[in-house]
């Protein structure tokens, strides 16, 4: 029997500077990934020819919006409450915080992504009866046909 590929809504609490913390999604499901990628593109404004292209500035904020569930920043400033807020509201709140704080949180989330990816790789490698690895090279058609 294979493993469950359903992404359960698990979260992880990560520390940031000054004793603050953020709660982030452990991993995104396909729908959340699609929403993040969609938000990583230049928004359509008029006849802007760059609209719809990948935009690294939008991508950083899209990653924050996709992963953030809660944080302690609202303890000192209730206006910064993000739990239960829509992506649109979270985007507006993110735009209102310090630039270096947003970048710090993004770096923490990127490190979290690398940790989860490493865990997945380790799980795959540790599975003794996992999927059969693909052949490194295609089999020769001569072997198949016997010629």
């Amino acid at each position: 029997m294979g493993r469950s590929r359903l992404v359960k809504p698990d979260t992880t609490r990560l520390p940031i500077s000054d004793g603050d913390w953020v709660v982030v999604k452990r991993t995104l499901n396909y729908g959340e990934h699609r929403a993040m990628w969609a938000a990583s593109r230049t928004p359509p404004v008029g006849d802007d020819p760059t609209a719809g292209r990948y935009d690294s500035l939008e991508a950083g904020r899209a990653t924050l919006v996709a992963y953030l569930v809660d944080w302690s920043l609202s303890d000192a400033e209730p206006a910064l409450t993000i739990r239960g807020k829509s992506p649109h509201e979270v985007r507006a709140i993110l735009d209102a915080i310090e630039d270096d704080s947003a970048i710090e949180i993004l770096r923490v989330i990127e490190a979290h992504q690398r940790t989860i990816a490493a865990e997945r790789t380790a799980e795959k490698n540790a599975t003794p009866d996992g999927a059969t690895p693909s052949a490194a090279t295609l089999a020769s058609p001569f072997a198949v046909t016997g010629r």
Partner: protein
């Protein structure tokens, strides 16, 4: 003790972890004979995730109230096109 308690509101949601999996409009919770029961109108629902969450006993009903929110675990749920009926465990907080 009360024989019956009725709570009601105009906005609530069902959550699986951090995910909102249904939005409810008019809702009422009635406690009769020791059992909490929920009825509500549904404005949107992700039926697949609702089913996954209730199967895992991880589906929560949440509704705002003064200084906090109501929160119950749903132990059973029937989703119609625009309506919902559910049975609830004890209130969580």
């Amino acid at each position: 003790m009360f024989d019956a308690i009725r709570l009601h509101g105009t906005t609530a949601s069902l959550a699986w972890g951090y995910r909102s999996v249904a939005r409810l409009e008019a809702w009422a919770i009635v406690r009769t004979e020791g059992q909490w029961r929920l009825t509500a109108t549904v404005s949107w629902a992700d039926r697949f995730q609702c089913a996954q969450a209730v199967t895992r006993q991880e589906l929560l009903f949440t509704a705002p109230r003064d200084k906090g929110q109501w929160c119950w675990e749903l132990t059973g749920v029937e989703l119609g096109t625009h309506s919902l009926q559910g049975t609830l465990g004890p209130p969580l907080h």
